[in-house]
């Protein structure tokens, strides 16, 4: 196990910077999620850590040692790829054994470790099959077993769940997280899916255009976004942002509620015109506009349907809505958080 530290990593492809100065510390045993839209540089950053790409500048430290010039195999990191990258011509057993064979581990020990890794992931009965005979979930476990068999110090996961269907994804998410806690391995997990990020990460690094916008626990990222990008990227529907007094005011849809639902706490009132409403079972999403702000800007409210009757929300009607003052977030004209409550 080891901590991973990067100092001002820059990676340029030609003149285009894919990673534009990322400094990040992932402590020993931590589950760090890199969250960002596609093309934000998160995968490139991961490939730099495992050594598949070389950074243009900056330092990478694993376990306290600078490993800038050390080839991938000597870094002690394992990586699981988006489409798993299993060797189609090998059986599952040989797939898992391959990282050991390249290190000239004695045969008896290879057998023992393959046994160990396959037990760990519950794929002992699949050892003699080939990858094409496996289901998506099984392939994922084989890929994980192959990554872990070398007992790496750092585990890198590149969108490992994107090839699974929605149902399997939810169970695999739980499985990976539990597994990581049991083994206690330092893990860096790349995803564009905020649900995965929020649900799995000890901490999340939100990345955009090759720079880290914010690093923090899921609660910090959600409740105290550092800038407008983080505020609108995390959360569905995203945070409402309206311009006010040369800056911006933000509030989450679930905090934008009918005035009568407010308790004693201090709140700010807005007049809200309902344009459209979607009933989603556990919640109701209401779209509309606020009086005194840009009428073309769509404001969303997420209401608990049990508390709001159908006939209450009719398109075209104006209603008094309110946001608790503690839930209001102010951003300056550059989109950075202006003041904290």
């Amino acid at each position: 196990m080891a901590a991973v530290l990067t100092r001002d990593i820059v990676k340029k492809f030609g003149e285009v910077p894919a990673v534009n100065g990322i400094s990040l510390t992932v402590s020993d045993g931590e589950f760090m999620v890199l969250l960002g839209p596609s093309g934000c540089g998160k995968t490139t950053y991961l490939r730099i850590i495992c050594g598949l790409e070389k950074q243009t500048s900056g330092d990478l430290l694993i376990g306290g040692d600078i490993v800038n010039d050390i080839p991938p195999r000597a870094r002690g990191v394992a990586m699981m790829f988006q489409s798993y990258g299993l060797y189609p011509h090998f059986t599952v057993r040989n797939n898992i054994a391959f990282p050991l064979k390249t290190q000239s581990v004695p045969r008896a020990e290879i057998d023992k470790k393959v046994e160990w890794a396959s037990q760990l992931l519950g794929i002992g009965h699949l050892l003699n099959r080939r990858p094409r005979q496996l289901s998506g979930g099984e392939r994922q476990r084989v890929a994980l077993a192959r990554a872990l068999v070398r007992e790496p110090t750092v585990l890198l996961l590149d969108e490992p769940l994107s090839n699974l269907d929605a149902k399997l994804r939810a169970s695999a998410r739980l499985e990976i997280k539990q597994f990581q806690q049991r083994v206690g391995i330092t893990t860096i997990y790349v995803t564009h899916d905020q649900v995965e990020a929020m649900g799995m990460g000890d901490r999340i690094a939100v990345i955009d255009h090759g720079v880290v916008r914010q690093v923090g626990t899921p609660t910090e990222i959600y409740d105290d976004p550092a800038d407008r990008f983080v505020a609108t990227f995390v959360g569905t529907p995203p945070m409402n942002i309206v311009s006010r007094n040369g800056g911006y005011l933000g509030f989450r849809p679930e905090n934008f509620l009918p005035k009568e639902m407010m308790d004693d706490e201090a709140f700010t009132e807005f007049k809200f015109r309902v344009d459209r409403s979607e009933y989603l079972g556990s919640e109701r999403i209401v779209y509309g506009a606020m009086e005194g702000f840009d009428p073309n800007q769509v404001i969303t409210a997420k209401l608990p349907p049990a508390h709001v009757a159908d006939e209450w929300i009719r398109p075209g009607e104006w209603h008094p809505f309110a946001v608790r003052n503690s839930a209001l977030r102010n951003f300056d004209k550059d989109g950075k958080r202006a003041s904290r409550h």
Partner: protein, 309 residues
């Protein structure tokens, strides 16, 4: 519903929609190909089979049946056995050399470098140049007096003028020469096959191998080559079949010589059956290709099926 049914015009005759029937249209489309194969491949093949068990020569065009006598006679002939082994050496020698050059060329062409597109276009030339022209050029390169190969080696001090190799005069060197020329013709094809195979290997798999600790050689020979083996084997089947039946390079370069050192089945069959007019023995010699090729193709196809991934 009723209105729609009435608007369909009544068929004028029962053949009106004949071309809408899959079975009829399919038969019409496939018949030229079947006719072509039957008339231009099937009939000559059956004739060759009959010639091989008859006593047909152009001087005595009788269809007298002689059984396996022709085959017995050619098998007893040491020249024929020599020819048979020459054919194998020529075929497999040139295929192995071609594959090595192809693999190497594909690896070179995979990496971006200035002028790669031009090189990719030029490298296809051996394929595009008419075999007769190319072979004449090679003949000059292997010429006993004017060989540029020898000149170059003399200039480099590798050999001395008195002992310069006589490429087409020495039996072993002559075989080597025709193998080199055939491999030269085959290797652009091998490059294309290897390029197609290597570019089809997913980048994720190669990256995984790199992270798993595989270096250049291990990645190549434990990951890439096994993965592209099925497609390379298909290319190799074509190469073997075309080379085994080929006579053009031998005919143009060495005429099967010196002293039969480069005589291959195709050339021998041509010489015996067409040039000498002994059609029945020529047919028997040519038919020897059939079982050999059949075995090679069946073995290769079984191998591919087993390796399918």
């Amino acid at each position: 519903m009723v209105a729609i049914a009435e608007s369909v015009p009544r068929p004028a005759s029962r053949f009106r929609f004949i071309f809408d029937r899959r079975d009829v249209l399919g038969a019409i489309f496939v018949s030229p190909a079947i006719l072509y194969v039957l008339l231009l491949v099937g009939v000559p093949f059956l004739m060759a089979v009959y010639y091989s068990v008859s006593a047909y020569t152009i001087y005595d065009p009788s269809w007298r049946f002689v059984g396996m006598a022709n085959f017995e006679q050619i098998l007893e002939n040491p020249d024929f056995r020599h020819t048979l082994s020459n054919t194998f050496i020529f075929t497999f020698g040139s295929q192995i050399l071609g594959l090595i050059l192809g693999k190497f060329g594909a690896l070179v062409l995979l990496r971006p470098f200035p002028g790669r597109k031009l090189v990719r276009a030029i490298i296809i030339l051996p394929f595009a140049v008419p075999v007769a022209l190319a072979t004449v050029a090679w003949q000059w390169m292997f010429d006993s007096l004017y060989s540029v190969i020898n000149w170059t080696m003399i200039a480099l001090g590798l050999i001395d003028r008195a002992n310069a190799p006589n490429w087409l005069g020495n039996p072993d060197l002559a075989m080597l020469s025709v193998i080199v020329v055939n491999a030269w013709r085959f290797f652009p094809f091998a490059i294309v096959i290897f390029l197609a195979g290597i570019t089809a290997v997913p980048q994720d798999v190669l990256d995984a191998a790199t992270v798993d600790g595989a270096g250049f050689w291990r990645r190549n020979y434990q990951i890439i080559v096994p993965m592209i083996l099925p497609i390379v084997a298909i290319g190799l089947i074509f190469g073997i079949v075309f080379t085994f039946t080929d006579l053009s390079i031998v005919f143009l370069m060495t005429m099967g010589g010196p002293i039969g050192a480069t005589t291959v089945l195709g050339y021998s069959g041509f010489q015996t059956g067409i040039v000498s007019g002994d059609v029945s023995h020529g047919a028997a010699i040519s038919l020897f290709m059939l079982p050999v090729l059949l075995v090679v193709v069946v073995l290769m196809l079984r191998f591919i099926k087993r390796r399918e991934i």
